[in-house]
Symmetry: C2
Subunit: 225 residues, 2 copies
DNA sequence: GTCTATACTAGGATAGAC
DNA sequence: GTCTATCCTAGTATAGAC
């Protein structure tokens, strides 16, 4: 008999972010409600992914955080992998889009060094502030299973190429010291930014302080005037 | 029914460096061979840990790489956790020891900036070249289970404090720009170094190039002369 | 010390009720 | 859309032979 007998309540609700006013009559019989659940699911996955890593990300934990039962996930995604993949893809994309967008905003003749500073600042802000998806993507990029890696990889390459171009031109241009390996420099900088979610919290310092420090470091590459 | 009486083992597992007895007599009877296996095990664990992350690290994979069968691991360690814990602890320690040692080597009056450069270079070399344990420790620090974190955390704090001291004194001293948050700067730099195993391979560039680039970045913090 | 065989459990996934 | 029940594989760990 499988008597339930225990009736576990799963109402833990450690959720504080109750932004969306969801207590409506019936949120509508088409699409909308499902779409919200989908978003909750993605966001929950991003958080767990960041905390626990790829392999440590359990559907049960995701479900708990998204406030539904694990099997419900399969209504939205075909598999754990499909869900995770979308999170990572989004994270990758939103960083790239955000930075490209900021760069595009700069006036025509902006010096390369200034463009680089802009990219540094914006990447950092995405990572620390704007997108938990990006954080999740970064943290887990290295341990994704081979299959998933392929598609993501190409986006990743593009983004890297964008940076690389900026650095190479800046060096060719004399704005960056001729004696540094720009590839190493670029990867070190991006690394510094990517690692920041590991230590930064609002309690450590203001985001603007991090930005300022990152820009200071970047200026170490500048040709001495 | 059949519920077997709770026979839980509570091996406390504070594995601390089993007395490295290293008997030298002959290699097969006692001691030595086991010690070698133990080292293979640790090294294999470090590699898998770096590649797959904490949760993705399976005893089966470790065993395979160390060329034995999974259950044999239990002859050396009480649990998967105990094994992983030793790897992480070692990684943490060897970074700290290596850097402290290099710093101690510097002549008495060495300027703080020079000490910082030294720390940057040595930390980078440990991470890229000298210790796969350190890489494993760094990559997984963030996703270790709560229990394991405690002990490791304190070592980690010490190491961070060592760096922080250097930076604060350098700033108080006027060697580092007064307008940067040294905590942020320090964490960004260490982050850049810590992230490097993620992208660096001998094919990307020479380690010395990475070191040079890291030092160039560091110089961005220097007060303008 | 290291193996084979096996007990046990967690967690991904499916079926089908509501 | 979301749930409960359940299947099934993979992975930790133990027993005990060699």
């Amino acid at each position: 008999m499988s008597a339930p007998g225990e009736q576990r309540k799963r109402r833990t609700t450690s959720y504080s972010r109750a932004g969306a006013d969801s207590s409506r009559k019936h949120v509508d019989s088409d699409g909308t409600k499902g779409q919200q659940t989908r978003e909750r699911l993605l966001k929950a996955t991003a958080v767990i992914l960041t905390e626990k890593g790829y392999s440590g990300t359990r559907l049960g934990d995701i479900a708990k955080r998204a406030e539904l039962q694990a099997p419900a996930i399969y209504y939205y995604y075909d598999s754990r992998e499909a869900l995770i993949e979308e999170v990572v893809r989004r994270g990758q994309q939103s960083a790239q889009e955000h930075v490209e967008n900021a760069l595009a905003q700069l006036p025509e003749g902006t010096p390369l060094l200034e463009r680089i500073r802009c990219a540094v600042e914006e990447h950092l802000r995405v990572v620390l502030d704007l997108s938990e998806f990006t954080t999740a993507a970064i943290r887990n990029m290295g341990q994704l299973p081979e299959g998933m890696r392929q598609q993501i990889r190409s986006d990743h390459k593009n983004y890297g190429a964008l940076w690389q171009r900026l650095f190479e031109e800046a060096q060719a241009n004399g704005e960056i010291r001729a004696d540094v390996d720009v590839t190493a420099a670029r990867l070190l900088i991006i690394g510094a930014l990517n690692w920041s979610p590991e230590w930064w919290t609002p309690r450590v310092c203001d985001i603007d302080d991090v930005v300022a420090a990152a820009l200071a470091l970047t200026s170490g590459l500048v040709t001495d005037q």
